[in-house]
């Protein structure tokens, strides 16, 4: 029994189980990060305090930021998305259940890899969550902790990429009949926006981290050189970093919208404008990151554009605020705990948003940059708006997840204590405009003592509030009163008859979607029945797969090996290979079967398949990834005084022939896909084999090219200069993509050795997309790196 229980939580791919795993894990990391925050506030409570040393403080400040942003706030939103998006849109599960488990385990292990830095010599990462270079270079931060933090972030980027593709595909492809875009609940909408941002923002971080790790381990010069250095990192990091703020915020806003509708007993005022505002936020969020760089000395016109764009992003948020207030106007507001937290989240967000307008000014930023004013501002947005919103979501959805009610009085107490504590911590910071961030201590003559003391007292009150929250959860789980299927009279689909913990309501009938459902629900919430029976446990077991956890463990150990040494790296690779082979063999023997979703609302993707949709989502994220890499190349090259002329380093004829070989492999792959479409199936395996052979030849020539460069005289290596660094890293990453493609080709050939099925044909087609993309990247890489 215990064994089954353990196995369930390690092997589950069910969206609700994975949601609960996300939920619990994110609170675990929140606990660690909150302890670090408490240490910091204790240290800063009085001037000249010696509670923490500078080394400990810098680690605390760094890990607090990293854990809270990447391992708590964002994943808590994802937890609710996992659990409630499928039922909200009438789907059985997420589009790719195993990838869902994979994204969870990558997230969890990534956090551990980062956190384990505390136990390595030299301690955890200590250069701030922003990882500003060149402080993060091996010269200034030789500790393994920094390498481990970057490794953990690489793992979490992988997790995010997999997860976003999954949720996006689910929302686009798994909506029940009748669940058109405009009928989608607002939480689903805002998760959709979040996913779009994550999909295109995280690859920038990933590219930056790969360059950083290659600087630290291989000795490349991206961030240690003057041509790249601080400004390159700032661009790469903040292109990711600013959208990340909205990534953390939007799930909370979506949840607050759900809560508002239920607890005002009104539909959202001007829902269409709310959706439009969401799209506007996504778009503008990618065009404002420069406001983090006003004082680096970037061009003043750029600064003015970034100021205007940053102020522009407050327009959709202003519209949202009007929508919230107008929804309440002449409504019937039920002041239950979720509504308190929703209102608190919005009120705090107003303060965070308005102080953000101060920071958007290229002039006001001069004094505010790097001060506690900024700390106050972003905590009002990230802690205040996001955390209070997500607490609201917890109070709102907990009864559905557990089937038990939470205590209202403890909930309200939690709200009052935490809103007092929160404002005591962060409001004084607006008056600490002369105090730098991230300092371990200050002298008494600065006059910063009293305000810091108030903030520190506030932090203890805030933590106490969360102990109330925790006790409320435990108490409810142990002996809370039963919740019933719809305790709040919710109007979205997750509140239909399905009880928490059981199977999802599968494909609830088309007629009950949208407003007819709303009215029937408010008439009698117990009346609506799921149109499907429940799945028995024996079928549920087929949903188990050990591969996601094995694969994540392998990748995490391998990347932890970057910090702990080569043997660990190899061990991880072995495990990773074993997991991949296992995964492939599961598929070859059809060991993992997910029942197909009946067709529903798929506009505008009626004619495509969900794997193709997922592949396109992946390729779009790869566009950002290679875009950032090639952009970084252009940046350092533009800033570097001497670049070897074309032909002086590289053998252009050989590389040209190699390009032709790769493009020919693209042609054979294209022919394979065409043959499948026209039904000439017998040539397909030959064509796939030719693609494989051409790809292998490409890699062999590439390898000999590398060998000649590395052993030539004088040798051209990653360490000898930026031309070498950029060449080896970019062609290396492209080569890794080719190798991944070749492995997939081998798998395709094995899989199709005895006959074809429609599924196998589709897989070849989807692989064709990937291979075309890899070829296309080379079409950019070859001229940029060899010919100009």
């Amino acid at each position: 029994m215990v064994k089954t229980w353990i196995k369930r939580w390690l092997y589950t791919t069910d969206h609700k189980d994975v949601g609960i795993l996300y939920f619990v894990t994110s609170f675990y990391f929140a606990f660690l990060a909150a302890l670090l925050a408490l240490f910091m506030r204790t240290q800063l409570a009085v001037p000249n305090n010696k509670f923490l040393g500078a080394a400990e403080y810098n680690q605390a400040v760094t890990m607090h930021g990293l854990l809270m942003v990447f391992w708590f706030l964002s994943p808590l939103g994802i937890a609710f998305a996992n659990y409630f998006i499928p039922p909200q849109i009438g789907a059985k599960d997420l589009a790719f259940p195993r990838l869902n488990a994979l994204s969870y385990w990558l997230y969890a292990f990534g956090g551990l890899v980062t956190f384990i830095g505390f136990f390595s010599p030299g301690g955890a990462a200590n250069a701030g969550w922003t990882n500003y270079s060149p402080l993060t270079s091996i010269q200034f931060s030789p500790n393994a902790g920094e390498t481990l933090a970057a490794a953990g972030l690489i793992i979490v980027s992988a997790s995010v990429t997999v997860g976003t593709i999954n949720i996006l595909t689910t929302i686009l492809f798994h909506r029940a009949p009748g669940m058109t875009f405009m009928k989608m609940p607002m939480f689903t909408w805002f998760i959709f926006f979040t996913m779009l941002q994550m999909l295109w923002a995280f690859p920038s971080l990933l590219a930056g981290l790969i360059m950083l790790e290659s600087d630290r381990i291989l000795g490349t010069l991206f961030f240690t050189s003057v041509a790249g250095g601080s400004i390159l990192w700032d661009n790469v990091f903040w292109f990711f970093g600013h959208p990340e703020v909205y990534v953390v915020l939007l799930p909370a806003i979506g949840a607050v919208m759900e809560i508002f509708q239920v607890f005002t007993n009104r539909t959202l005022y001007a829902k269409k404008i709310a959706v439009a505002a969401g799209f506007a936020i996504v778009t503008i969020s990618f065009m404002i990151y420069g406001h983090h760089m006003f004082l680096t000395g970037i061009n003043v016109t750029e600064q003015e554009v970034f100021t205007i764009n940053t102020e522009a992003v407050s327009l959709p948020f202003g519209a949202l605020m009007v929508i919230f207030i107008a929804t309440m106007y002449r409504s019937a507001v039920k002041l239950a705990t979720p509504m308190f937290f929703a209102l608190g989240s919005l009120a705090i967000f107003v303060v965070g948003g308005l102080t953000g307008v101060f920071n958007s000014s290229l002039a006001l930023d001069i004094a505010q940059r790097g001060t506690f004013f900024v700390v106050g501002h972003f905590h009002y947005v990230m802690v205040g708006a996001s955390l209070f919103g997500l607490f609201g979501a917890t109070y709102y959805w907990w009864p559905k997840m557990t089937g038990k009610m939470l205590s209202e009085s403890l909930g309200k107490l939690h709200f009052i204590v935490s809103i007092i504590g929160f404002n005591l911590i962060f409001f004084p910071m607006f008056f600490l405009m002369d105090m730098p961030r991230r300092i371990v201590t200050y002298t008494a003559d600065t006059g910063w003592g009293p305000l810091n003391l108030i903030a520190s007292i506030g932090s203890y009150i805030f933590i106490f509030g969360h102990l109330i929250f925790l006790s409320n959860l435990v108490r409810s789980y142990a002996r809370g009163p039963p919740a019933g299927p719809n305790p709040w009279h919710g109007t979205t689909l997750e509140w239909t008859s399905w009880k928490g913990g059981g199977p999802s309501p599968m494909g609830v009938g088309a007629s009950s979607i949208g407003r007819p459902l709303l009215s029937s629900l408010s008439a009698d919430p117990h009346n609506v029945k799921s149109s499907h029976g429940s799945i028995g446990p024996e079928i549920a077991h087929q949903h188990w797969s050990g591969r996601p956890i094995q694969l994540s463990l392998g990748l995490s150990i391998a990347l932890a090996g970057l910090g702990f040494g080569f043997p660990i790296f190899v061990l991880g690779l072995v495990l990773l290979t074993w997991a991949l082979v296992g995964w492939a063999s599961d598929d070859l023997h059809d060991r993992f079967m997910v029942p197909d979703e009946p067709p529903g609302e798929r506009w505008p993707f009626q004619t495509t398949t969900k794997l193709k949709l997922g592949m396109w989502a992946f390729i779009s994220s790869e566009f950002t990834f290679f875009g950032v890499l090639l952009g970084s190349y252009a940046f350092v090259r533009y800033n570097f005084s001497y670049w070897p002329p074309p032909g002086s380093i590289h053998n252009i004829p050989v590389a040209g022939v190699n390009t032709i070989i790769l493009l020919t492999s693209g042609l054979t792959m294209l022919l394979a896909v065409q043959s499948i479409k026209t039904g000439a199936i017998k040539h397909v395996r030959t064509l796939l084999g030719s693609t494989l052979a051409l790809g292998v030849v490409f890699m062999i020539i590439k390898g000999s090219e590398w060998y000649d460069l590395l052993t030539g005289s004088p040798p051209f290596t990653p360490q000898t200069g930026l031309p070498g660094s950029t060449f080896f890293v970019i062609t290396g990453i492209h080569g890794a993509h080719v190798i991944a493609g070749l492995v997939a080709l081998v798998y395709l050939l094995v899989r199709t050795r005895n006959g074809w099925t429609p599924g196998k044909r589709a897989t070849v087609e989807h692989f064709g997309l990937y291979w075309a993309f890899v070829d296309m990247v080379w079409v950019f890489v070859f001229p940029l790196l060899y010919l100009v």
């Binding site: 003057v226 400004i231 005022y269 000395g297 003043v300 202003g318």
Partner: protein, 218 residues
Amino acid sequence: MAFASVAEPAATYQSLFNLYLTFAIIAGTITIGSLILFPILYRKRGTAEEPEIGKKERGNLKVIGLVVVLMIATLSTTAYASFTVKDFYLRHPDCKTAICVQVEAFQWAWNFTYPNGKNVVGLLRVPQDTPIVLNVTSSDVFHSFSIQALRIKTDAIRGRYNVIWFNVPGTCPSYGKSGFCEYRIQCFELCGLGHAFMTGRLIVMPPSDFTNYISSGP
């Protein structure tokens, strides 16, 4: 530019800050006020009114449009004011009228080099009522140079030179242990273990004292 009665550009900064603060307080009061007032006003009482769910979706573009237009007007005003102030910050006097000092940040102090080659770590002495131009860079990691009370700051980055200027009048908010007017110089970007202690002192002296100081050897 000489003989400022108030410290510049700090005074200009403060007027811009006040403009933002005024707008923020107005907007904040209205929004937070409604967020507190509406739930009290429309709190559901014993007899619930007929639920609105199922009725036609509401939404009035005019209200939202009006608010957005108001916001655009406000933000344009503040943005324009910001551009003007930034322009004031950028228009630094040249080294004929001002005293130009090279500032090199390193872990964890500041190295000041005067035009005559005099070189001091941690202490920046300047004459009052005279524009001072600082050319800031770093020899190692990313730092940020600031004299916060004077509302000036710029990042110190290796390979880059960022210029800031200021002008301090004879009136003094606080006298330091040198007996002269002093301001705190501090690093505002996490730069390693010594970040919190990467401070310096700006000492503002009467011009005659400064002349003596600057000519008194390295």
